[in-house]
């Protein structure tokens, strides 16, 4: 494995934690799919019984992508010389040379995976941390009284911009002013940071329940945000809708965003929301999300190098410090111990 620098980690995503990868429906039973995550190539492989595994997309023989190979039901065979790889990364057969000593060896990296609310999550440990970090799932996705829809989209831009956007509630009153949910509320505000055991709130001190007024960053093995946005009366009973947001660092310049729109509703109220969501509301939500995409994709590459920040940006500043410090720590841990100078 190549040594990871702090800059590379900051650019491509933190290690030793879980990240969302793609929606579960992207890999049907009996199918496989190539994905890029944290700047690396992977293969998602689903057996016909729906068991999912995630393998490095690299044949241990000569490095051909396994994603070009064949799905053999419970293993994949490399197209180049036919090596067969089990879902845990073990070489089960070298057809060209039976009995070859590669057989039975676990030579392909495989990642722990879990499926949550219709998305694949995987744990990306470095060499020192192969065991998956404990994962606590967002309550809105596990609470039986809360119903949700996942919206997934792919944006051209660094993963950090997508998270920063979420830690910046004030953009709602401007960027999304012409929207069905965020037209209201004051365009001036004071914010504060409130630490929690799992992250922090960034919230307005003087307005709640009117626009996008607060956000909680949660680090529970996977990084996610929770926020809430009021619905107009047309959306029916159940109060505001919430968003659980996660971000997949694809590579330095590409990001997968996961937004679960959720609402505390049950019975006919739940059914009404789901019906309206599918028929009319999903499209309006999409238009709001497109405003974010257009803005973030248009941000210059040096956007975060030449800024003049003010009080509303404290949530972003806090986020960057945290991520930068963690990238530095992870990068430092990667530096191999200095080898003694060669003697001649």
């Amino acid at each position: 494995m190549t040594t990871l620098t702090a800059d590379h980690i900051y650019a491509t995503g933190l290690r030793n934690q879980w990240h969302p990868v793609v929606p579960s429906r992207f890999v049907a039973p009996g199918a496989m799919r190539k994905v890029t995550v944290l700047g690396e190539e992977w293969l998602l492989f689903r057996r016909s019984d729906s068991t999912l595994s995630m393998l490095a997309d690299r044949c241990p023989h000569r490095g051909a992508p396994l994603s070009l190979g064949k799905h053999l039901g419970d293993r994949v065979s490399c197209w180049y010389h036919g090596l067969e790889i089990e879902t845990d990364g073990t070489v089960s057969s070298v057809p060209g040379l039976p009995g070859c000593n590669l057989e039975g060896k676990k030579l392909v990296r495989s990642l722990p995976v879990r499926e949550v609310g219709g998305a694949v999550l995987a744990y990306f440990g470095d060499e020192e941390h192969p065991e998956p970090a404990p994962l606590t799932l967002p309550e809105p996705l596990t609470d039986p009284g809360t119903d949700s829809f996942l919206c997934y989209a792919e944006w051209n831009g660094p993963w950090r911009y997508a998270v920063e956007n979420l830690l910046d509630p004030m953009h709602g009153a401007f960027l999304h002013h012409e929207s069905h949910t965020m037209f209201d509320g004051d365009t001036t505000a004071k914010f504060r940071i409130r630490e929690t055991g799992r992250g922090y709130f960034f919230e307005k001190t003087d307005q709640r329940g009117v626009n996008f007024d607060w956000v909680e960053l949660c680090r529970t093995g996977v990084d996610w945000v929770d926020l809430s946005i009021p619905y107009p009366p047309s959306a029916g009973p159940g109060g505001p809708f919430g968003i659980v947001g996660m971000v997949c660092p694809v590579d330095e310049n590409r990001t997968g965003v996961f937004f679960w729109r959720y609402r505390k509703v049950e019975g006919w109220q739940r059914d009404s929301w789901r019906f309206l969501y599918r028929t009319l509301i999903e499209k309006r939500h999409w238009e709001v999300l497109e405003q974010d995409r257009v803005m973030l994709e248009a941000m210059p590459a040096d956007a975060d190098q030449r800024e003049n920040l003010y009080q509303h940006d404290l949530g972003v500043v806090r986020l960057r410090r945290m991520y930068r410090a963690e990238a530095e720590a992870q990068g430092a841990a990667q530096v191999p111990a200095q080898a003694p100078a060669p003697r001649h």
Partner: protein
């Protein structure tokens, strides 16, 4: 399933393009929620007043609305 980057799909929750009846019912529901209220009784009254009925043409009852919205929104 496409693997082209970027994946940008407006509709990810639908199983089918809504029928004209579903579109009509949805906009009537929004109107009723806006002008009549959020109780089940408001909904039934509001839809019936607007003559937006289920496909069999019968006026809504609380039970028939529950059943139909469950079929549509489950």
């Amino acid at each position: 399933m496409t693997t082209d980057w970027p994946y940008l799909d407006v509709h990810q929750s639908r199983t089918h393009e809504p029928t004209p009846y579903e579109y009509r019912l949805a906009s009537a529901l929004e109107e009723v929620f806006t002008h009549e209220g959020h109780e089940l009784a408001d909904v039934v009254r509001g839809l019936n007043a607007r003559q937006v009925h289920s496909p069999d043409g019968a006026p809504w009852t609380e039970q028939s609305f529950r059943d139909e919205i469950n079929r549509l929104g489950a």
